[in-house]
Symmetry: C2
């Protein structure tokens, strides 16, 4: 690979649902370029609202942003550059490449999920086929934790921390005013977010008593029987349910329970976030099924944990740290010669690794874009317990990621 004509410029952009640490990654890229791109990189641009800002040519110059401002931005939730839900096709990618050429950009860092790595892949291939020297690096980010090749993704640990803490509090709430309580958790295809609810448990009879993941077909008759069994035993039942649960045929639960209320998004998917419809419909259904003939309905409530899951300002310390480092590693990889790729976080020690008895440790690794692009990682079988739970192995794996949890005192 011939050297890139100096000074090539660099661009960094953020994509998809924001997270509590996506700005750590933004700042990590800038820091990495400043450290490792000295002499070979001209300006460092941030594109506003992801690929949208590239094609519309709306950039922020980050070349000389002071370190203390960068630190403040890094510690702030959500995407400081703005984000985008655009999923570029080939024509859109042509426009991205044209914009990069126009700005003499030779380094393209895209922080996002599997769609973003696919965008990197397409743009990188187009650049190659037109002989434009470009480095296209995908920096991982998603609260869903559904990227292949990764032990976990930046953003997940903070969102999992929120879910675990919300369930810890809600379990105590439910114990004080008993009833059936449903909390709907984000994650359309992968159950890692919903599974995190289990980390709020400290005692055998703590909730969540039932955890419903998108990986396990959701059968209303079976679920209803499971809820009834817990309710009979404990006089209460706290349920974690993924927004993405679906039946054996792949029909989303919401579409089944409330065909009228299930709105489709631009990609033709039933809209799951930003609405309480699923929780409400499931609460109504369970209440109906669990009401004895002529008897009183059990107190049934539903909350949809909603957007606070991704941007509540209480990030996991290790997530903040890793999001920054993985982005610096991406910048360094590009400066040291990588043409394209995605950076993955792999666990080399600690629970769930090959060295489970050692303290938690990770390493970063460049992987091929096509290994990540447009693929989805699911909860592995060893993390799923039966039809309505997670295994101790999952909780052990998750613990180092979320940071310290509050201590619970009981009478």
């Amino acid at each position: 690979m011939p050297a890139i004509p100096a000074p090539g410029n660099a661009v960094v952009a953020q994509s998809g649902g924001p997270t509590a640490v996506i700005n750590q990654s933004l700042v990590g890229v800038v820091e990495g370029l400043r450290t490792h791109g000295r002499g070979s990189i001209g300006s460092i641009f941030g594109a506003r609202h992801g690929v949208r800002g590239m094609v519309d040519e709306i950039f922020v110059d980050l070349t000389s942003t002071p370190p203390d401002l960068l630190d403040a931005v890094a510690a702030t939730p959500s995407a400081a550059l703005g984000s985008s839900r655009d999923k570029p096709d080939a024509a859109y990618c042509e426009r991205i490449l044209a914009a990069l050429k126009k700005k003499s950009i030779r380094y393209f860092f895209y922080i996002g999920g599997n769609d973003s790595s696919d965008t990197c892949r397409i743009v990188s291939e187009m650049a190659e086929s037109t002989k434009y020297e470009l480095k296209a690096i995908h920096v991982p980010k998603t609260i869903d934790n559904d990227l292949m090749m990764n032990d976990h993704t930046p953003g997940y640990a903070s969102a999992a921390r929120y879910v675990a803490k919300a369930f810890m509090g809600d379990n105590l709430d439910n114990a004080s005013l008993p009833g059936i309580k449903i909390n709907v958790v984000m994650g359309r295809h992968a159950g890692f977010m919903t599974a995190a609810a289990a980390l709020g448990k400290q005692r055998e009879d703590d909730g969540p008593h039932l955890v419903y993941l998108p990986e396990v077909p959701f059968d209303l008759d079976r679920v209803s029987a499971e809820v009834e069994a817990v309710y009979k035993k404990l006089k209460r039942c706290l349920i974690a349910v993924s927004e993405g649960v679906q039946d054996r045929d792949g029909t989303p639960l919401l579409a089944k329970l409330s065909p009228a209320g299930s709105e489709k998004d631009a990609h033709g998917n039933v809209r799951l976030s930003g609405t309480g419809a699923l929780g409400d419909a499931l609460a109504a259904e369970l209440s109906k099924r669990l009401t004895p003939a002529g008897g009183k309905s059990p107190r049934t409530r539903a909350d949809t944990l909603g957007y606070p899951q991704r941007c509540y300002p209480d990030a996991s310390p290790i997530d903040q740290h890793e999001a920054r480092l993985v982005a610096r590693f991406a910048a360094r990889a590009a400066c040291e010669g990588a043409t394209n790729g995605s950076i993955a976080i792999q666990r080399i020690a600690g629970p769930g690794s090959a060295r489970p008895d050692q303290p938690y440790a990770v390493e970063f690794k460049r992987v091929e874009l096509k290994e990540v692009a447009a693929k989805t990682r699911h909860m592995p079988a060893e993390f799923i317990a039966g039809t309505s739970g997670v295994t101790p192995a999952f909780c052990e794996w998750l613990k180092p990621l979320v940071g310290e949890m509050p201590r619970v005192g009981r009478l």
Copy 2:
């Protein structure tokens, strides 16, 4: 008042929706009785699930619970004794009194809101009329902050902190992926909780851009115009709306938008918590009204902040401190001779007090039960700005209560 025959026993109970600091109050009562009731008080009982545990005679003996366990319980959200939604009438109160007599209980501490102070009042009057020496003290608790005579109530500051932090994060989320976002906040009659959303604002164009309190009649035409104006200017709009908003005639918004979906609770009120129905209905209505003829609907989402508002394990430090102290004060007042009463928190220095330039300070005061019982405090006029906002005076008043807020960095 003649001295109570020694050793009289004491009971403490928790009532209504739990909070992040209601256990601080429980522990404060126990500590206060141990300190000030030495020699005059026999056993200290906790009643399980409020008045329900009294009439069912389900008690926990707290006389010798170790201080380190008490500390752990105090720091734990929700009601460690369990709570109750029972609203005792005269017949129920007779049963409470009979249970107190049976256990030789001469000190009754009830931690709760205005309904609980009314229970204290009725039981106290019944005891007096049957010449049973009883001290009945109400210890304030409610996230709604709607108790008369109080500057603020234990539980409010922590819930307000959660709301402010959730809005701070969600404002950044909404800025990164612009659209109309509605967050429904707890508080059926008083707007203090919803108003707390404004504390998340740090810059002029930050959200919440519109704040809808139950104190201001909710007019859909006017609200729709206000949302449209913000959306035209900023291309986004973050809205805080109280679950309790109602129109000029007192019809709850949910009953207006979705008559079929508005379930009634045991007291005949439309059920507002534990459902996303209001947010979803309002989102659908605004989306419909703001869609230009033949044009694209604005991206509109709703979250209902739900139960994490009251039990998310991230209490305000000052709330924890005051909840403990006000309960110790209640125990001391009883031990030193008060027959009945409610303890109020009054601000004697700091923003919103008679000495606004001094650092924040409060004092505790015994007030008559009838001054608090079954009454509701609302947001004062000087805290409400027009039809859709709060005043700087409100934010200044709130700031010392919620503790330090995260710092936001922006590019």
